[in-house]
């Protein structure tokens, strides 16, 4: 469960807020598409959920725990439950695929064990299983930089699952990929959402793709949530409200 209540974030005092009174609840097993024009506040909304951005007002709750007011140790505990995948994947290029997946465990294991590469057999087995699950069996020893974009995002997804998260956030997870690859990645995320009862929120700028995979849409415009409802009800009028008259 991920809940926002009246969340407001202003990056630069005097500038209009990036997020203004955003309220939203997402339940386990749900996969929500965040829609909105550039600069609407989608990334900000996503990053508030794990404390990468700290809003100045409102409340964000992850699995019943408030995020915003936490100290750094408690924040780390929350972050373990919230996995994030990024548009640019953000893998460690010089590490092997397997080691990249294992870094998903950094919130759970001690720094020294991780730094010395003393991963437990259970963790390594889990990483291999996850790599097989995302379709990268037999690629464990390849370096991350040797992979295609789609393969990299699969590694990032395996790394995210390594956290055994309750919540999965994706900031434009398919925007750097071609439509066919993007579709296969969204298929994988949708399947994992159901399998693991994840609370999934993805910002997507390709509305056609969003319609294919998400039953619920949340429209953001100028820092406000201007639509929250079934994807099927996202009519041209709603699109106008989200994207302005330039929207399709």
């Amino acid at each position: 469960m991920l809940a926002y209540k009246d969340v407001t974030k202003t990056y630069t005092p005097g500038q209009p807020p990036a997020l203004l009174g955003a309220t939203l609840r997402v339940a386990p097993g749900e996969m929500v598409a965040l829609l909105g024009p550039s600069g609407a506040g989608k990334s900000t909304l996503i990053r508030c959920a794990n404390g990468l951005v700290r809003p100045e007002a409102g409340a964000v709750t992850v699995a019943g725990q408030p995020v915003i007011t936490l100290g750094s140790a408690e924040l780390r505990a929350v972050r373990r439950k919230v996995a994030v995948i990024f548009q640019e994947f953000h893998l460690i290029d010089r590490f092997s695929v397997l080691k990249n997946v294992l870094t998903g465990r950094l919130g759970q294991v001690s720094f020294w064990r991780a730094a010395l590469g003393l991963w437990s057999a259970a963790d390594v087995a889990m990483a291999r299983e996850l790599l097989a699950r995302v379709g990268l069996e037999g690629q464990e020893r390849k370096l991350a930089r040797e992979l295609s974009g789609g393969q990299r995002q699969r590694v990032a997804i395996a790394r995210a699952m390594m956290q055994a998260p309750e919540i999965l956030l994706g900031d434009e997870p398919v925007a750097s990929l071609d439509p066919v690859t993007g579709r296969s990645i969204l298929r994988l995320i949708a399947d994992l959402t159901v399998e693991r009862r994840l609370t999934t929120v993805l910002s997507l700028h390709d509305v056609t793709l969003a319609r294919e995979f998400c039953l619920r849409a949340v429209g953001v415009s100028g820092g406000r949530i201007v639509y929250d409802g079934p994807m099927a009800d996202v009519t041209p009028d709603v699109m106008n409200a989200i994207y302005g008259s330039g929207g399709v």
Binding site: R76, R79, V82, E88, I92, D93, F95, T103, F111, R159
Partner: protein
Amino acid sequence: MSEVLRLRGRLSDRFRAPALWTLVLGGLVGSVLVTGFTPDQMQTWSYAGEFIRGMFPPDWSVLPQVLRGMGETVGIAFLGTFVAFVLAFPLAFLTARNITGPWVGVPLRWLMAMLRSVPEVLWAIIFVVATEFGNIPGVLALAAHNIGILTKLIGEVYEEAPIGPQEAMAATGAGRAGVVWFGILPWAMPTVLSHTFFRFECNIRSAAILGVVGAGGIGTLLMQHRQLFQYQMMTVDVVGIIALVVLADWLGAAVRKQVS
């Protein structure tokens, strides 16, 4: 390009040539006045001919000593670089603005600036006076100067690390150490090592001279032979120093080729 920038470009173009000439001419006149460098001083050059004649033929009997001195010089350079690296590598975490706050970072950056602003030769003189003649003050001198340089260089590499992987590591719930170790170091390491090798290359050159102030290596022989007027032996010292500098250049080029 904006209109303002283009205008500024044109203005400075118009002034650039006269400014350059003024600088060069002014520099020439000023330098001659300051150094007292006048053509009639060239008379003293007649001694140069005598001196150079005195250097030949080289006295190769000192070759074993010179080779040993060269080895010591490389050893001083290696140890000096090694000690500097071992200290600078962790210190750089404390001077990098994206890792450590200003309360530790600012004073430490100042300290490092002071360490590196003292030239190796001056450090060598200080350590020779404080300890003894020989290789140890040479190592310490190179280490002191290079901690300042390497901490700055390595800290700047850490600062340039892309934010993405760091955020990805933080998002897993990793602590600060985890973020630095996995989010910054793998990206930074090749550049860190190439900076360190570059300093090793520079340190071979520096170490060759440090002996002149008593801090060990082949420079010690050069100083001794000069003081005893053994110019034919000094020739071999000079050949040894040139060989070292060529070796350092070659080593640096080879390493840079490997890294890039």
